[in-house]
């Protein structure tokens, strides 16, 4: 079997990372299939290949070389590989999801804009956080219910509109009173550091890469 392998595991990891960074959806799928064919570890391919690729995408997003279209297509490339590798990983009794921790993410009640939330979710997932996506227009009651039953470390709240800042404030207040152990991060176009602090959030970030750094800091992993 070994002599048939054209690439080492490390080489495939690097090529997977590059496929994501090159926004090459088809190539990501081909390489993931090679991982399966060569019987390399699916978990390692996800963590050292696909997730590493998204990390590099995050760096480029941060330095304004990439913008939202690139991040969305890179995520598609990541998922093409992930969807092939995940069943094998589960067969192997392994997991990658959540080794960094678990985050619930939502757009606050009254707001239906979720591009920002989705980009942040992708980057956090690629970093190794397990994400519980509650969607958009989410009431404090649904958030509270989720926090109660899942073992969540961070709540990430997003809004694009100034008109829903009040909803963000009341959601944070509700979480603070009912789940004081949960860290809360907030984000979105109208959110300033001052506002985040005023409403009792643990932090805010200006973009998706900043959100990843903040989540790592809040979970003591930075």
């Amino acid at each position: 079997m070994t002599e048939d392998r054209k690439y080492t595991a490390a080489e495939l990891h690097e090529q997977l990372a590059r496929a994501v960074l090159d926004l090459d959806v088809a190539r990501s799928g081909e390489l993931a299939q090679l991982v399966l064919d060569y019987h390399y570890s699916a978990r390692d391919a996800i963590l050292k290949g696909l997730s590493e690729g998204m990390r590099r995408v995050g760096d480029r997003f941060c330095s304004h070389e990439f913008f939202v279209p690139e991040v969305l297509v890179a995520a598609r490339a990541m998922y093409r590989g992930l969807n092939l590798l995940k069943p094998r990983m589960l067969e192997e009794g392994e997991t990658t999801s959540g080794y960094r921790g678990k985050i619930a993410i939502a757009v606050v009640e009254g707001d239906l804009h979720d591009i920002g939330k989705n980009v942040v979710k992708l980057m956090l997932e690629a970093e190794g956080f397990e994400m519980v996506d509650l969607g958009k227009n989410v009431t404090p009651a649904i958030i509270s219910e989720t926090l109660q039953k899942d073992n969540i470390q961070i709540l990430a709240l997003s809004t694009l509109m100034t008109s829903t800042l009040a909803a963000m404030k009341s959601t944070v207040a509700a979480v603070r009173s009912q789940h004081p152990q949960i860290k809360v991060m907030v984000g979105g176009a109208p959110i300033s550091a001052t506002f985040a602090s005023e409403i009792g959030a643990d932090g805010t970030a200006g973009d998706a890469s900043g959100a990843v750094r903040l989540a790592l800091t809040l979970t003591g992993q930075s």
Binding site: H64, F67, E70, M161
Partner: protein, 337 residues
């Protein structure tokens, strides 16, 4: 010339006239709130929309106004389906496939006839007293909103030819809408909520959005009307492009003011800049902070073509007193020394 028109012209020319031109951007949602009317009803009635905007102007005495309902007017006319909460802006419940965007007729489709009739009334009643700008979407944004923003952004990379065909349909629609507005003597501001520098970056902005924006703006100007452009989000990635665009003013949500001043200090003609007053501060801020921000913004662009304006629309439920504070602070501003 009326005082508002005088202040507007003086600000475009940076003539140093006081008080400066001031423009909180009042859209249908805040105007309806001021009248205690349900937004859904206002968005579907030309008379109610016109009444609400005229009422808002009578309260605030702005130097500039827009006729604007919500971002989805053109997207809905092209075929996407909206849901209208009773008293909140509409949202999309079903997007269009890019291949199935409809060619629209402004006198017939969706709420375009409502917008035309509301614009006509506002221009007729207030157009001589105050610069009135009818807001329409740039073709890229209208197409992206109709097709679903994330799906459309992916197309720019995965199927650029399909994205271009959708933008072309949208462009032709906007040309017909524009023609109908120009015939009634409207000045027009193109709103670009999706063609944002912070979302697209310079490369995609230039490849997919800029050309149709420039063509529509040139069309407005060649008809002898005034043209503006409003760009949402962070404009720093496309600031150089915006400084060269053939338009009377650009309304920008967020940008580096010092870089803007550098870009327009080359002796060439450039648009005036307006916008960037934070709407959250306007909505919630204490009076002293609003006053300080107004003073700081006017001072930072004094001597340059500049209109003091909110970064985006005034939030729906912003208290009237907050906007009055903004207006009063602007009216009272004088250069130091």
């Amino acid at each position: 010339m009326s005082p508002a028109w005088e202040r507007f012209r003086a600000s475009l020319a940076a003539s140093g006239q006081l008080p400066v031109c001031v423009a909180p951007l009042i859209a249908a949602d805040h105007a309806a709130f001021l009248q205690n009317k349900k937004l859904r009803s206002v968005l579907h009635s030309a008379d109610e929309l016109a009444d609400a905007l005229i009422h808002a102007q009578s309260l605030y005495d702005c130097d500039f106004m827009i006729v604007f309902a919500d971002v989805y007017v053109e997207a809905e006319a092209m075929g996407c389906q909206l849901e209208y909460p009773e008293d909140a802006p509409p949202h999309i419940v079903r997007t269009c496939a890019p291949e199935s965007l409809r060619a629209t007729i402004p006198q017939r489709d969706g709420r375009l006839p409502v917008m035309l009739a509301a614009a006509k009334r506002v221009i007729t009643e207030l157009g001589e007293a105050i610069p009135v700008f009818v807001s329409i979407k740039d073709p890229f944004s209208a197409a992206a909103l109709a097709c679903g923003a994330e799906e459309f952004f992916e197309l720019l990379i995965s199927k650029p030819a399909l994205a271009r065909r959708a933008i072309e349909i949208s462009h032709q629609n906007q040309l017909r809408y524009l023609e109908a507005l120009l015939e009634m003597g409207a000045n027009v501001i193109l709103g670009a909520p999706m063609a944002s520098g912070g979302i697209l970056g310079e490369k995609h902005f230039k490849a997919f959005a800029l050309e149709s924006i420039v063509e529509l703006l040139s069309h407005i100007r060649s008809a002898g009307r005034l043209a503006g452009l409003h760009i949402c989000g962070d404009s720093d990635p496309i600031l150089a492009e915006l400084s060269r665009i053939p338009v009377h003013f650009v309304s920008i949500e967020s940008f580096n003011v010092d870089r803007w001043k550098e870009l327009i200090s080359d002796g060439q003609p450039h648009p005036a800049v307006m916008g960037y007053f934070p709407t959250d501060l306007l909505h919630r801020g204490p009076v002293v902070q609003i006053e300080a921000e107004v003073q700081g913004e006017i001072a930072s662009l004094w001597g340059f073509p500049h209109i003091l304006a909110t970064a985006c629309d005034v939030p729906q439920r912003c208290p009237e007193s907050q906007v009055q504070t903004f207006m009063k602070a602007a009216r009272g501003w004088r250069p130091k020394g």
